[in-house]
């Protein structure tokens, strides 16, 4: 068989396998998602499990301690957040019943109309309209929450399965790796080992860097909100907002804006009805009703510190992708899988880059294998 027909056969085989995978994929999508999550969690927890194992000389016990500790911390966070947000919503509901709410919204509408240039004022609806719309969106929000609760069942199943997979992977990680290596033909053994190691390093470096950057963003946001409170912003749930902003920061480019939303909502909830908050000005010059502009400004400052100082140091060029490529893969990830796709887009692109680099290396040195 000559070279060109071999190439055609290879291409046909590739298309056939691709088509088969594409057809079968939807049936296994949830399992694949669970496995991907388990693998990512394993990569995050592996260094801690390894170092604890070194101290207590029991891998299973190390896994139980690390995973158990994380679950307890997560439940504690969720519990405290639910309690606090419950109290906040209760307080806000009471506020809505009062006339102050309508008055404040009217004040906000009027304020916006005086601040904005003429051509934009037409875009601001009348106060009655705002009240109607905000009540509509509140009822919409409750409906969304109900549908969210119904989805919680399947989410719980996925979470439990992911947890089980993560525990198994963490306990058996090094044995799994050895088993995987057993399938590599002798000819490709050394190259295969290098590929596995480089992929591991790439993902691990990226995830650890991102988690540390997220932690820094959370801390900076908490400090920022605390400073705003010193200027009378009347913000509550500061720690929770900070942590949410930190986690949202894991999604590049879009995350930071998502992180602002809870802060703005809490500022609105707490300050509606306060004339002082309505008349507040950023730096005493720019009108910033209910400290909304202050919050946006604070988050922009945090983002600038993160983008220009923290992330370059912590994440560095761990993924080694051009910013343009990062943007493109984010768009592709977002289109294919939504926010989850955006979360995984950059590390996936990093892994593909490592594989392509190794393929290039193999093809360059194929005569030596």
């Amino acid at each position: 068989m000559n070279d060109s027909s071999l190439k055609i056969y290879r291409l046909l085989l590739f298309v056939l396998i691709g088509g088969l995978v594409w057809t079968v994929l939807p049936f296994f999508a949830s399992v694949i998602v669970m496995l991907i999550f388990s693998f990512l969690f394993t990569t995050i927890f592996l260094p801690s499990v390894d170092s604890l194992e070194r101290k207590i000389h029991s891998r299973s016990f190390s896994v139980i301690l690390i995973i158990g500790g994380t679950i307890v911390a997560f439940i504690w966070f969720l519990g405290s957040f639910a309690t606090n947000i419950g109290a906040q919503i209760k307080q806000f509901s009471a506020k809505i019943q009062q006339d102050d709410f309508a008055l404040s919204l009217e004040g906000l509408s009027n304020k916006a109309q005086t601040i904005l240039p003429d051509f934009l004022t037409n875009l601001i609806p009348e106060s009655d309209e705002i009240i109607e719309k905000s009540q509509e969106s509140l009822s919409g929000l409750f409906q969304n929450m109900l549908s969210f609760l119904s989805a919680t069942g399947s989410l719980f199943f996925i979470a439990v399965m992911t947890l089980i997979f993560t525990i198994i992977l963490l306990v058996e990680y090094h044995d799994f790796k050895r088993t995987l290596v057993r399938f590599i033909p002798n000819k490709y053994l050394e190259v295969g080992l290098r590929l596995i190691y480089n992929i591991e390093q790439q993902i691990s470096k990226y995830l650890r860097g991102q988690l540390m950057a997220a932690g820094s963003v959370a801390l900076l946001s908490i400090i920022g909100l605390f400073i705003l409170n010193q200027f009378g912003a009347n913000m509550t749930l500061i720690v929770f907002i900070g942590i949410i902003a930190g986690f949202a920061n894991l999604i590049p480019m879009v995350g930071p804006f998502v992180g602002m939303i809870p802060a703005i909502l809490v500022a609105l909830m707490n300050n509606l009805g306060s004339d002082v908050a309505l008349a507040h000005q950023l730096f005493g010059v720019i009108p910033s009703p209910f400290y909304i502009l202050d919050i946006i400004f604070m988050f922009i400052v945090v983002q600038q510190i993160d983008n220009n100082l923290i992330t370059p140091i912590l994440v560095g060029e761990s993924v080694g992708l051009h910013p343009m490529i990062v943007m493109i893969v984010l768009l592709i990830g977002g289109t294919l899988m939504g926010p989850l796709g955006m979360l995984f887009a950059v590390p996936t692109a990093g892994v593909i880059k490592v594989i392509l680099d190794e393929i290039q290396f193999i093809s360059r040195n194929s005569h030596l294998l």
């Binding site: 090094h174 057993r182 002798n186 053994l189 050394e190 030596l368």
Partner: protein
């Protein structure tokens, strides 16, 4: 009763061929049973056919091999010069644990052979997981390389005199 007693106090390196082979290698000298077990968990057991190359000359080196069973020849494929004939218990390629320089010779199985590979990525993982054990191996590796350098110096001195 005897079985339980033997099971508790069994001497690993003697019973397990991999542990036994590792135990003989100077790089893993002075390691206790637990440490040897940890090393064996990181190594890769491979079978090679007669005439199969384990690595080729100029290929990027990734690690060392210990022969458990069989015979391996280290030779220069260009000149056909044989540098060494190795058998069970011997090891080769240890320099690749330290650098990524291309292999200076090729290794070929002279009969169906069973080898265990210990690679740079395994050493790096070990150094991360257990720095103390990683350091012991690095010190042993330095001793082996130092000894090789001393032998080379002696050979050179003999040749020049």
């Amino acid at each position: 009763m005897k079985a339980i007693w033997e099971n508790i106090f069994k001497k690993g390196p003697v019973n397990d061929p991999i542990l036994h082979a590792i135990h003989q290698v100077p790089i893993f000298k002075h390691l206790n049973g637990k440490e040897l077990n940890e090393i064996s968990r990181l190594t890769h057991e491979r079978d090679y056919r007669l005439g199969e190359s384990i690595f080729k000359k100029m290929a990027p080196g990734e690690g060392m091999y210990v022969i458990i069973q069989g015979n391996v020849t280290i030779k220069d494929p260009d000149t056909g010069m044989v540098f060494a004939q190795l058998c069970s218990g011997d090891f080769f390629g240890e320099l690749a644990l330290l650098d990524e320089e291309p292999r200076s010779a090729m290794a070929e199985a002279q009969e169906p052979s069973k080898l265990i590979g210990f690679f740079r990525t395994d050493l790096l993982t070990l150094m991360h997981r257990s720095p103390e054990l990683g350091n012991k191996i690095l010190i042993n590796l330095s001793r082996v390389l130092g000894e090789r350098l001393r032998q080379t110096n002696i050979a050179l001195a003999k040749k020049s005199s």
